[in-house]
Amino acid sequence: MADPHERNGEDERKTGSTDDADLSARLKSLDARISQASAHRAESEPRARPTSNSSAIGQAFRLSAEFVAGVAAGGILGWIVDYLLGSSPWGLIVCLILGFCAGMLNLMRAAGVVKPARYDDKR
C-alpha cells in the first residue's frame, strides 16, 4: 500500500492536463524524429547503388556459374550460326573462343576487377 512508485503514478494521473501536454510534446518530438530519419533514408538512397556488394558469399556463389555460362552461350550462338549459314565447324570454333572471352569478362565483372556492365559518360 505504501509503495512509493504507485503513489507517484496516482499523483501523475491526478494532474491530467500536464500529462496531456507532456504526451503531445512527446508525440511531436517523435514526429520530428521520424521525418528526420525518413529524410536521411531518402537522402542516402541514390548513393547506395554500387551493385552486387550486398553479400560476399552471394558473390562467391555467383562467380561459379558466370564463366560456364559465357562459354555455353558462345557455344550455342556458334551452333546456331553454323546451322543457319552451313559454315560448320568455323562458327562454333570462333564463337566458343569469343564465348571464352565473354566468360572471362563475366567473371571479372562479377569479381569487381573491371567496371560493371553499365558504362558511364559516353562523351
Binding site: 547503388r49 558469399i57 552471394g58 556463389f61 561459379s64 550462338l77 569478362l105 556492365a117 553499365r118
Partner: protein, 242 residues
C-alpha cells in the same frame, strides 16, 4: 536401393492435360505463398503479430534489395521481383521436406524464370530507351579496330545472363539434393552390410544432418542471389547508358 537421381523424375499425375508432380508442387508453392501472405495480412494491425512481422520483413527485405540495386524508380518492378523471390524461396524450402519434389532442381523451370527476367529487361529497355538500349553493348573508350570484337563479346556476355542465372539455381539445388540422398543411402547400405560396418552407419547420418542444415542455407541463399541478380539486370534496363 533407390538411385540418388530418382527424386528428380517427372511423373504424370493427370496425363490428359500433362499435369505432373512438378506442376503440382509449383501450384503448391503458389498456394503456400498466397495463403501464407493472406493469413499474415488478414488483420493489418499497426503493431504486427508474428505472421504479419514475417510478411513485413520479407517485403522490406526485397524492397531494400531492389532499391539498393536500381534506385527508387526500380520499385515499379517490385511485384515481379517479390513474386520471383517468394516463388524460388518457397519452392526451394518445400523441396527440403523429405519426399517432396524440388521444382527448382529442373533447369527448364529456372530457365523459364530467367527468361522472364531477361525478357522484361529487353522489352522494357527497348520501350523506354529505344535504340539507345543497344549502347549497353558498345563500351566507351575502345579503339576502333577492337570495337567489333568487343561488341560481339558484350553480346555473348549478355546472352549468357539467363544461362548463368538459371544454371546457378538449378545446379545448387540439384547437387545439394543428390549429396543428401547419397549420404542417406550410405546409412542404409552400411546398416544392411552387417558386422563391423554397421557400427560405422551413424557417421554418414551425421553428415546427412549437417548437409541438411547447409541445404537450408543454400535454399535461402540461392533465392536471394536470384533476386539480387534480377535487380542488377533490371538496373541495366532502367539505366542503360550511365
Amino acid at each position: 536401393m533407390a538411385s540418388p537421381i530418382e527424386q528428380f523424375q517427372i511423373k504424370p499425375i493427370i496425363p490428359v492435360i500433362n499435369f505432373t508432380n512438378s506442376s503440382l508442387f509449383m501450384i503448391g508453392a503458389a498456394a503456400v505463398i498466397v495463403g501464407g501472405l493472406l493469413y499474415a495480412t488478414r488483420k493489418r494491425a499497426v503493431v504486427p503479430g508474428r505472421a504479419q512481422s514475417v510478411a513485413e520483413v520479407l517485403h522490406d527485405f526485397v524492397a531494400n534489395t531492389l532499391v539498393d540495386a536500381t534506385g527508387k524508380e526500380g520499385m515499379k518492378f517490385f511485384p515481379l521481383v517479390f513474386s520471383l523471390f517468394m516463388f524460388v524461396l518457397t519452392a526451394n524450402l518445400l523441396g527440403m521436406i523429405p519426399g517432396f519434389f524440388t521444382v527448382t532442381s529442373h533447369i527448364i523451370v529456372t530457365f523459364a524464370l530467367a527468361m522472364l527476367v531477361i525478357g522484361t529487361v529487353v522489352i522494357y529497355g527497348f520501350v523506354k530507351h529505344g535504340t539507345h538500349f543497344l549502347g549497353l553493348f558498345v563500351p566507351s573508350g575502345v579503339p576502333g579496330w577492337l570495337l567489333p570484337f568487343i561488341v560481339v563479346i558484350e553480346l555473348i556476355s549478355f546472352l549468357s545472363r539467363p544461362i548463368s542465372l538459371s544454371l546457378r539455381l538449378f545446379a545448387n539445388m540439384l547437387a545439394g539434393h543428390i549429396a543428401l540422398k547419397v549420404f542417406a543411402g550410405f546409412v542404409v547400405a552400411l546398416l544392411g552390410a552387417g558386422g563391423a560396418l554397421t557400427i560405422l552407419a551413424p557417421l554418414p547420418l551425421l553428415m546427412a544432418v549437417a548437409l541438411m542444415a547447409l541445404e537450408f542455407l543454400v535454399a535461402a541463399l540461392q533465392a536471394y542471389v536470384f533476386t539480387v541478380l534480377t535487380c542488377i539486370y533490371l538496373n541495366d534496363a532502367l539505366h542503360p547508358g550511365h
